[in-house]
Structure formats: C-alpha cells, structure tokens
C-alpha cells in the first residue's frame, strides 16, 4: 500500500522516473522499550534526488538516520543500496557501502589538526608501516577542501576554527569517502550564512553527479531551496511523499503537524491583569536588552530559532546564567537573586530543555526526583520530612497521571513521556508563582503532549500561575500562548497577541 502511494505520487509529480532507486528502505521498525520510535516506514531515494525528511520533534527522523547510517539496528525491515542488500552494523560498514552522514551534534577531535579530522578513521591510508606520511595527508586534505570551497588550513588545530567551519570540515569528512548517499541532519543549524550557501551549492553539484541526499532541517525555506522531494513523517510513521515543487511552506507545516494538533483547540479564556514578571533591559551573554512581561495566569512564549538566545533568557531568569545588566521584577518588587536557590525560594521554577542532563536523576526513584526541588521546603533543619515527600510524590503521580507501579520505581525504567511528566511534576510541586518551561513537550508522544497542554492551561487558569515558555515547536507556540515574544540574535524582535499570532508573522520575526 505504502509503496504504491510513494511511487505513484512521485511519477505523477513528473520526477525523472528513469533515475534508478539508489537507496530503498522497506518496513523499517524500531522500538525503544515501550516507545515505538519508527513504525513501518518506507523510503526510496533516487540518484540525483534530494529528499527532505520532515516531521516534528520526536517524529522519528533521527532514528531513521541512525538506522540508515548503521548506528542503530532496526527491529524489522529491509534496506538496499544500488540494488544490493544493505545491512550495516556500524558507521564504518555504512561508509563502506557508500552511505555517509553528517550529524547534528559535533563529532570532532578539537585538539588535533583539521587534516586528521577530515580523514578520521582512515589514517592507515596515509601511513607506511604505521608511520604517517604527513605531507601526503596535508596535501590530500588541502586538495579536498579547495575542491569543496571550504576555507581552512589543514594544518591548524581544529578548535581554532569557528563552529561553522568545524561543521564544514565534518561535511568534508563525509564527502571524502565519495558517498553515493549523503545524510545531512540539521547541518545548517551550525552553519553561518556563507557556509550555508556553500552547502547548498555543493548539494546541487552532488545531485548533478548522481548522489542521493537525505536532508533534515527545521528551516522550511531551505528545503524548498535545495530539495526535490519531501517525505513527511509523524509519530514514527510515514505520512506522505510529495515533489517539493507541489507544496508551499504552509502546506508542508500542516502536513507535519497533522490533523491531531489542529483539532486541539485552546478554550477561550480571560487572563487577569495583575503583573507577575516584568523584565526590563536584561543583558547577558547570548541576549541583549530584553524586555518582556508576564501576567498572572498568562502563558507567554519565547519563540526563536535554535541558538536565538531564548534558552539563555529562560536560564538567566532562573539564576542559572549570569546577567550583566537589567531589571527583573516579581509582582512589582525587584528580584536580585544571584543563585538558583534564590530563584526557587522566590517562587520561580524551571523545567529545563535537556531532560537527561539537567532534569532527572535516572538512577533514583520517581519520589526522589519529585522531591529534589522541594528539598528546602521539606527540610526540618538538617533533616528531611519523609512524610511530606511521600505525599508530594503521590500528588504528582496522580496529577500528571504518571504510569508506574509505585513512586519507588526508578526513573530509568520509565518511557520518555512519563519521564517528562515526572520532570514537570517535580517543578510544579514546588508551588511556583512563575513557571519557566523550556521546550516542555520535547520528545514526547502526541497524546502526552495534549495532557501536558491541558495541565498547563489548568494550572495557569486555576492557580493563577504565570508561565513563560520557550519552544522550538511552532505549532505548540501558536496554539498555547496568550502572547508570543519572538527572539532573534538575542534580542526581542516582535510581540504578538491574539489574531496576530500566525505562523507567517512569527517566522518573519524570527528569521
């Protein structure tokens, strides 16, 4: 069924059907514990095609990439490259089959030379009896970089390059193996404007040479600039494949969000007028002259592209990041807390973005984690009131409907959605006046997403909780917020309310 739709729509769209299928993946499936990251996905990439893999966070794009690049073995499914069976067991076996990937994260050795980074894992090609022929290595790197139009000295130490150039070196590494299939995961997120141009030019050249490219990016206009085909995924499943020329940005985002989220409507409500948070001219590393306000019971979203400075603003308000100048007022009174403990004592809570690193201790129980932020509240002198902790854990598990046998279950035994609920419970139970949420539904299923939205609305409505949220999920920002503040290069670039909150308005202000 799926195969038919995929092929037919492509032929209908007038895509050179003569080009052979370069990479085919059929019936791919992968689960992590109870979470199905990818369910029954088919994907066909033709020579000279640039296919954009689109979907919201958590749609399964990165799992697909990891499977294609040999880093993750699928539970089921079959793959071929240029007609031959393709069953990679490691990144190097994928490269040997002609599939190379550039990761979203940085994969570099900062303390060795650019040339060694380019030919990482292939140094034996430049050695004789184990001794490296440096002259040959450097000249090979120099030739390659020149050909790709990357401006970097192969002899210089990697860490001396800008992040953008470092990313381009990773691209050079992937291209040095002359791949037939190139996988690019959010590469432009780390690239500056000039390097992004170079990348798109290279993509065009590679396509002309018959290389197939699979491209993931949140920046939709890039997809229309460089990709020929769009494949949309949602919650780990295939949605549709269309020629890029048949779609515009609005249609594509509607496909990505899907009907589910469009159906979810925020109830009409009236927000009280008494102020909770007032920020005036806040400056610090990563943001500049930021002014905004949040009223009691109001949900305000900071919207910006990755790296816009929204994360930093949220962290600064929580005392987790230095502020160089500016004023923060809570209910009209100046707040001058310098530490996180001060912020918590003043009734501020923050749900961080990186759940695993900043949010939860997965070697400990649900109860331990929920009680952690309430530690000062539960303390009787140096001792902890265990009864209070147990009550909080019970309340949190009920309120957020956390699925576990008991509050003694270890956090690491939970699914991603339940972990996120524990994290939210941990901070909501500190009884904050101001809740800072950084991507509160990152990596959770759509069902849990709605539960979280409902809870946010309930708490802001019933408890008059002021919520300031940063989110990279555009649909979430549009549907949940009373007010949206867009952030660009660390500065406020627009404030939108009511009907003015539209995707086009926000994107224009964010870019």
């Amino acid at each position: 069924m799926l195969v038919d739709t995929a092929t037919s729509s492509r032929v209908d769209g007038g895509f050179s059907p003569l080009q052979p299928v370069l990479l085919a993946a059929e019936g791919l499936r992968k689960s992590y514990g109870p979470v199905q990251a990818v369910k029954e996905l088919n994907l066909y990439l033709r020579a000279g095609e640039a296919l954009a893999l689109c979907g919201e966070n958590g749609a399964g794009k990165s799992t697909i990439f990891k499977i294609l690049a040999g880093e993750v073995v699928p539970d089921a499914g079959r793959m071929t490259v240029a007609g031959g069976e393709y069953r990679p067991v490691s990144a190097s076996s994928a490269v040997a089959s002609g599939v190379s990937m550039v990761h979203q994260e940085f994969n570099i050795l900062p303390h060795v030379s650019v040339a060694e980074n380019v030919f990482l894992g292939r140094m034996q090609e430049f050695s004789r009896f184990g001794k490296i022929d440096w002259t040959r290595l450097y000249s090979a790197a120099e030739t390659l970089l020149k050909r790709l139009g990357i401006n970097a000295d192969p002899r210089s130490e990697m860490r001396r390059l800008s992040p953008s150039t470092q990313k381009m070196i990773e691209l050079a590494r992937a291209l040095s193996t002359n791949p037939r299939v190139l996988l690019l995961d959010e590469i432009t997120a780390s690239l500056d404007h000039d390097d992004a141009e170079t990348l798109h030019r290279l993509m065009d050249e590679l396509r002309a040479q018959g290389v197939g490219i699979i491209y993931v990016s949140h920046r939709l206009q890039e997809i229309f600039r460089s990709c020929t085909t769009v494949e949309v995924m949602k919650d780990g499943a295939y949605v549709t494949t269309r020629p890029a020329a048949e779609l515009d940005e609005d249609q594509l985002s509607a496909l990505m969000v899907g009907r589910d989220l469009a159906d979810w409507k925020r109830p009409e409500r009236v927000v009280p007028t008494s102020p909770m948070l007032e920020v005036r001219g806040l400056c610090g590393p990563g943001f500049n002259d930021v002014s905004l306000s949040v009223r009691k019971g109001q949900i305000v979203a900071l919207a910006g592209l990755a790296g816009s400075g929204a994360d930093e603003i949220i962290e600064a308000l929580f005392g987790a990041r230095a502020v160089t100048s500016g004023e923060i007022l809570l209910e009209g009174k100046a707040f001058s807390g310098a530490s996180i403990a001060d912020a918590i004592a003043a009734g501020i809570a923050m749900v961080p973005k990186e759940r695993a690193v900043e949010g939860l201790i997965d070697t400990q129980s649900i109860r331990f984690n929920i009680a952690l932020a309430c530690l000062p509240k539960n303390a009787r002198g140096p001792f902890v009131d265990g009864g209070c902790e147990a009550e909080q854990a019970k309340l949190g598990m009920d309120m957020f409907r956390i699925k576990a046998r008991s509050s003694a279950d270890l956090v690491r035994s939970l699914s991603g959605g339940n972990k996120q609920k524990v994290l939210l419970a941990k901070w909501f139970l500190t009884d904050p006046r101001l809740m800072l949420l950084n991507n509160p539904t990152r990596g959770v299923d759509i069902g849990v997403k709605f539960e979280i939205y409902d809870l946010m609305l309930k708490l802001s409505g019933e408890k008059n909780l002021a919520i300031l949220m940063a989110s990279e999920d555009m649909a979430e920002v549009i549907r949940l917020s009373d007010t949206v503040v867009t952030i660009r290069h660390g500065r406020v670039s627009g404030v939108f309310e009511g009907d003015a909150i539209t995707e086009t308005n926000l994107i224009n202000a964010m870019l």
Binding site: P34, A341, I361, P376, A379, K403, S413
Partner: protein, 324 residues
C-alpha cells in the same frame, strides 16, 4: 493506550532483575558463609565470629565515609593515609595527655577531608588526583611523626576500647554499628544525604534543582575524613600502637567493599547498607580462607577475582554505553 499496556506488560520482568541486583551482595554474603561453614567447622564458632567482626570494624567505619564520596561519583584514595595519620597522631598525643587525645584523631580527619574537598571543589582538581596527593603526603607525614618506629599506647582505657567487650559484644564492633547507624540516617533522612546522591546521579540536575554543589562536595569529603579519623582511633586501639605503616593499602579494601556492596563508581545509587555487607564479605573472605589454610599469596588472587566477578554480575550492561 497501547503504550500503557506495553508498559504494564514489560515491567514485572524488569522488577525481578532490578530487585535481584539490589539483594545480590546479601546473596553473596550468605553463599560465602555457607561455603566456609562446609569447609571448616570452626567458622561458625562464637569465637571466630567475634574475630571476624573485630576485623571488619576499621574497614567498615572507613568505608562508610568512602561510600558517601563514591555515591557522589568522586573517589577517595586517601582513606588509608588518613586512617593511619589519625592513629599515629592519637598515639603521639596520648603519650603526654592520655585518653583526652582521642578527639585529635577526629579533628585530623575532618581537617584533611575539608582541605582535600576544597581543593577538589574550588580548585577543580579531580578527586582522584587530590586524594592521591594526600595519600602520598599522608604516608610521608606519618613517617615523620613516628620517625619510622611504632608509638606504643600505654593508656588502659584506650587498650580496653581495642579489646574489651560490653555485654559480650566487642566495644569496637559497637562503635562500628553506631557509625553505620549514623551513616544510614544521614543518607536516608537528611538534606545532605539527598544532595550527595543527587550530585552523584547528575551534577547538573542537582545544580539546576538549587543544590549548592560545591558546598556539598566539601561537606562530603569532610564527613569522609571524620569517618577515616574514627577508623584511625579504632585501629590504634586494636593495635595498641600508632604504627608508621598503619592503614596502608586500606583504601583499596574500602573501595572494594563499597563496590561489592552495590555502589558503582559512577555514583548516584547504592548506599551504606550495601557497603556494610561488602565490608563483611571482604573480612569473611580473608577469615575463611585463613581457616581453610589457603596461603596469603593465593588469598590476594582470590580477593581480586571476587571483586571483578561481583561487578560483572551486579551491573546492568545493557544500560551502559561508554565506560571508562
């Protein structure tokens, strides 16, 4: 909905393995005891059990402090040296002021712990290096104070602590039990205990939860020093002297006891109850092997293998990506 059913379907198996791992050290202890009881009829005599418990005392006291350090995902190599220094200093002052010299051992431990903790937390020297330095310097300091000869303890009260009993139970065993009870209470019922586990489980999480991480690190090393100081006092009372080599090599037994007891070197889980069992396993292993007539050379080999085997069986390799 489907997620719900899969979760409830998958968890019972996970529970049984998870809980088995928790009780694994206890299981080993029982097996080791049964094994030695078969090999030697002296093993389960009252006299021998008393010997075992006496032998466990110093190790278990020092291991209580080390458990907190390892729970915090740091390491303390200076345990042996601080125990030894405490023993030597108590013996040294006892020559002139008698039994009132006892608290000097605790003071030495707490001060050294605070210093090494500050070097670690504030100057950002890895705990491995900071405590390695203290270990080397500490042994040198001991040689200075003793001039290479044991300082004899003649104080009657001190000698009684080392060999006397209360209601049939050796005094040092009672001290070890009280030390354990306090450690257990600190771990489970105090803000400090929660914070130590949080720092070990995820330093950034702890910091983001409002815990003052540096302060916790220093306090934990001070607490560990205090326990080592107490261990030194007990060691001095048992030996009746402050020996220039007292406590040397103890840190390795201590780390083995903590790890066998179920606290991984990566911290964040486990605790003092497991360590108590780990310490008993190590003491019983030496005692039983002695009774069974195994040479002290072979005993070292067996102890090393037991340490590695305990970790192989008790960790869940599926959840570990990169190990260093």
């Amino acid at each position: 909905m489907s997620q719900n059913t899969t979760t409830s379907g998958a968890t019972p198996a996970a529970l049984s393995i998870e809980s088995l791992r928790t009780y694994f050290p206890l299981l080993v202890l029982v097996i080791v005891c049964i094994g030695f009881a078969i090999f030697s009829d002296q093993f389960f005599s009252i006299r021998n059990l008393e010997t075992v418990l006496r032998q466990t005392a110093v190790l278990s006291i020092a291991a209580m402090g080390a458990t907190f350090v390892i729970l915090m995902a740091s390491i303390d190599l200076s345990v042996g040296a601080v125990v030894g220094l405490s023993a030597v200093i108590v013996a040294y002052f006892m020559q002139s002021i008698g039994i009132v010299a006892v608290p000097s051992g605790l003071l030495v431990g707490a001060v050294l712990g605070t210093v090494v903790g500050t070097v670690y937390a504030k100057l950002k020297v890895p705990s491995f290096i900071a405590t390695l330095g203290l270990m080397v310097a500490g042994h040198g300091l001991m040689l200075h104070i003793t001039q290479g000869r044991p300082i004899m303890i003649r104080d009657e009260t001190m000698r009684w602590i080392g060999s006397g009993t209360i209601a049939g139970i050796p005094a040092i065993v009672l001290i070890a039990l009280v030390a354990f009870a306090i450690a257990y209470f600190v771990q489970h019922h105090t803000v400090l205990g929660r914070s130590i586990v949080a720092v070990g489980g995820g330093e950034v999480v702890a910091q983001r939860s409002g815990i003052k991480v540096e302060r916790i690190k220093i306090t934990t090393f001070a607490l560990a020093g205090l326990y080592s100081g107490l261990g030194g006092i007990v060691l001095a009372s048992r030996m009746g002297a402050g020996s220039p080599t007292a406590g040397s090599g103890l840190e390795l037994d201590v780390i083995a006891a903590v790890v066998i007891g179920g606290t991984p070197l990566t911290g964040g889980m486990g605790g003092v109850a497991g360590t108590m069992i780990g310490a008993l396993i190590i003491a019983i292993l030496s005692n039983g092997l002695n009774l069974a007539g195994v040479s002290s050379y072979s005993q070292l080999i067996i102890k090393g293998l037991v340490l590695i085997a305990a970790v192989i069986i008790s960790i869940d390799r599926k959840k570990i990506g990169i190990i260093k």
